[in-house]
Point group: C2
Chain length 423, copies 2
């Protein structure tokens, strides 16, 4: 029992179309595909196809804070708004909020999420049920091993044992110390050892704000990147979120090690963190992926918006109209972080997991079309996403979510918010 | 015969809803509205309402170039791609391209367009038929009165005589010298006189790129803004597009005169022009509106994207998370340029022309909702726009265009592009 998809147009090829066949969970044939008896046939003629966006850094459940006090200073926002609500979050709340976030992601073409949060069993449950792919982490915060470092590490290890490789391998777990300024040296070292032990990855926030880096340098005499290097963090594949304030030496380190930078342009802009040196990092050979960060600092989980922001911010900052071509921004949204989840670096090829996103291109706002990658990067809307497959299973079909009860999810999130606000 | 609209939630009011009644072309009652016999009743409960976005600077027909060679240097783009096609544009082509652009605008909540192009009779025809509101100008380019300045001015005057105030006043005409560096002093002076004579406005490009301003200063010893002041351009209401590279003296001049700056953040970013000093201008009292510029340099005509870009670019540039609140960016997209078209500065009030845009807010990506202006500015999609009224007439109803044959328009634009490319 497979799925035969007729006439897709991959974004990388400017004009050719091909047929694709999934045999259960894998792409069985590309281009020379023939429908087999019993196949579900999908007419995708005229649709643009990608292997699915990988949202390389997010905190899914924080969708609850979308639009809450967006225009206040960071500390006020945290202390007066976010933390009081987060303290009241029940595990079940995290499940519903994560489901809402995943629904938004699927609807905008994201097949894979790299998340860091807490109540992770609930996050994993939402991933398992919704059918998406995810690299999940428990965000450890610990000032010493004695205080709570040991328990934070134990939570991480329990989460790895229970969930790493589950849901047919759709769920992977990374060791996720929140940041160098919130985790002591011992916890980070032990986390790296744990990543080695379980053959998994590291995910942490790096050099997000100017003051964070300046304070860190004043305290330790070294940059967050150099500090992580000294702790041998980069001896395992590492997802370094943000990297806004990195210098030439930092960039050389990131390029020389198995690090993927998760560039979150909208979050960095909204929170006033700045504009990461993306062209400089790419020129030096650093692999830069795109992420939304949490909806609290975005306010969307839409990789199309992220591509557009990445593109516009660099061109504006450097006053250079040739930076970040549409091909480059599309590739940043799809490829660099795939291998952290065990996916092949390429997308729509024989043997790869059957992840696929289709875009309707017969829209007013994508007419006329001179170039498919420009259409996707600079013109498409999330409402153009018609079909999403992960592991051969349809999660969105003709614009309808197949694994998530959208009305229920919206209503549960409104209900829990009401409960918390009226407590 | 009127229209009774039940239960709208204006973006400015955080929680209250009201009923609205149009009596023919005007808002007859607000809040205390009662349906009259024969009224069309519209259930808008739960929908967010604005008076309609005003796209303060665009070249509608340039939608033809959407996605054409986006990633090359400006001069290559113009000389090798845009100009060869523009030279072949027939008047009828401009009509179809303008219709396509208007359709995209309506679909994303724009009721009013401020345009500068050529073959303006066709632009006006498209505005008249589609039912939107527009301030149109013929972009004059003339190195001297003798060479072609007189004929450019004559074209402008003929256009004013034929179209200014037509379509029940929905069409207004402005005198539109393209820029100080493409129009000689005599043509600008004569254009200002013409604006006085016909009681209309001026629309011109000002200080868009760094090199333009540096070259102009080197040539004339003065800035474009100061130069326009010396020509008494600001003695009539003026729409100054871009103003990216303006200094403190320029800003003081803009603040002291009846000038509206049309800030086009996406175009300025895409073309590498830079980031306009919006907070500085606003602090000095300059009225800053938002515009998309042409789709060639955007690649959308979507004021929601423009709001988001304006917001993100300033916060990123200044590393300040409190700049450009959602209330402020929404107001920039709706209000500052309204009076240039004879509209009252306020929107949804008794006696105002019946322009109204409704947004469905029951979407995954706008859930939960803590604040209506944050929802609109930071989370909404153009696909959330369900209904658009201009002058009391429905142009979009339940997501369907009522005055534009969308399939025909797409097909005509594809056909003419094919004709030009295969010439």
């Amino acid at each position: 029992m497979g799925t035969f998809i007729r006439g897709v147009r991959p974004v990388e090829a400017s004009s050719s179309t091909f047929d694709l066949r999934f045999d259960n969970r894998r792409i069985a044939s590309v281009s020379d595909a023939e429908p087999q008896p019993g196949d579900t046939e999908v007419d995708a003629r005229g649709k643009l196809a990608i292997a699915g966006f990988v949202n390389a850094h997010t905190h899914l459940a924080m969708v609850l804070f979308r639009g809450l006090a967006d225009d206040v200073a960071l500390q006020t926002w945290l202390e007066d708004y976010v933390w009081p609500i987060e303290q009241q979050l029940q595990p079940e709340d995290v499940y519903w909020c994560t489901m809402l976030a995943i629904a938004e992601g699927i609807r905008s073409g994201t097949t894979t999420f790299i998340d860091m949060y807490f109540h992770n069993d609930q996050v994993a449950r939402a991933v398992e049920e919704s059918g998406v792919r995810a690299l999940l982490g428990y965000g450890m915060i610990a000032s010493s091993l004695q205080k709570n470092g040991t328990s934070e590490l134990a939570k991480t290890e329990a989460f790895i044992r229970q969930w790493h490789g589950q849901a047919d391998g759709r769920i992977q777990v990374s060791v996720s110390p929140h940041a160098v300024y919130t985790c002591c040296e011992d916890v980070i070292r032990a986390g790296v050892e744990m990543a080695h032990k379980y053959g998994t990855t590291l995910h942490t926030h790096v050099a997000e704000t100017r003051s964070e880096v300046e304070d860190w340098k004043a305290q330790t005499g070294t940059s967050p990147v150099k500090y992580l290097l000294d702790l041998e963090a980069f001896s395992v594949p590492t997802l370094a979120a943000h990297c806004v304030h990195v210098d030439t030496d930092d960039i050389a380190i990131l390029a020389d090690h198995p690090v993927i930078v998760a560039h979150c342009p909208k979050s960095n802009a909204k929170l006033g963190s700045g504009i990461a040196p993306v062209p400089q990092m790419q020129q030096a050979g650093v692999h830069v992926a795109l992420g939304t960060d949490g909806a609290a600092s975005n306010n969307r989980l839409d990789m199309l918006e992220e591509m557009r922001a990445a593109w516009l911010l660099q061109r504006a900052k450097h006053e250079n109209s040739a930076l970040l071509s549409s091909q480059l921004v599309v590739s940043m949204a799809v490829y660099p972080a795939r291998h952290l989840l065990g996916l092949p670096r390429e997308g729509l090829e024989k043997g790869a997991p059957a992840d696929l996103v289709l875009f309707d291109t017969d829209r007013i706002h994508t007419t006329p079309s001179h170039d498919p990658s420009a259409m996707l990067a600079y013109a498409a809307n999330s409402s153009d996403v018609t079909d999403v497959y992960v592991d051969g299973k349809a999660l969105l079909q003709n614009g309808e979510l197949r694994t998530i009860d959208e009305e229920r999810v919206k209503s549960e999130v409104r209900r829990l918010l009401h409960r918390i606000k009226n407590r």
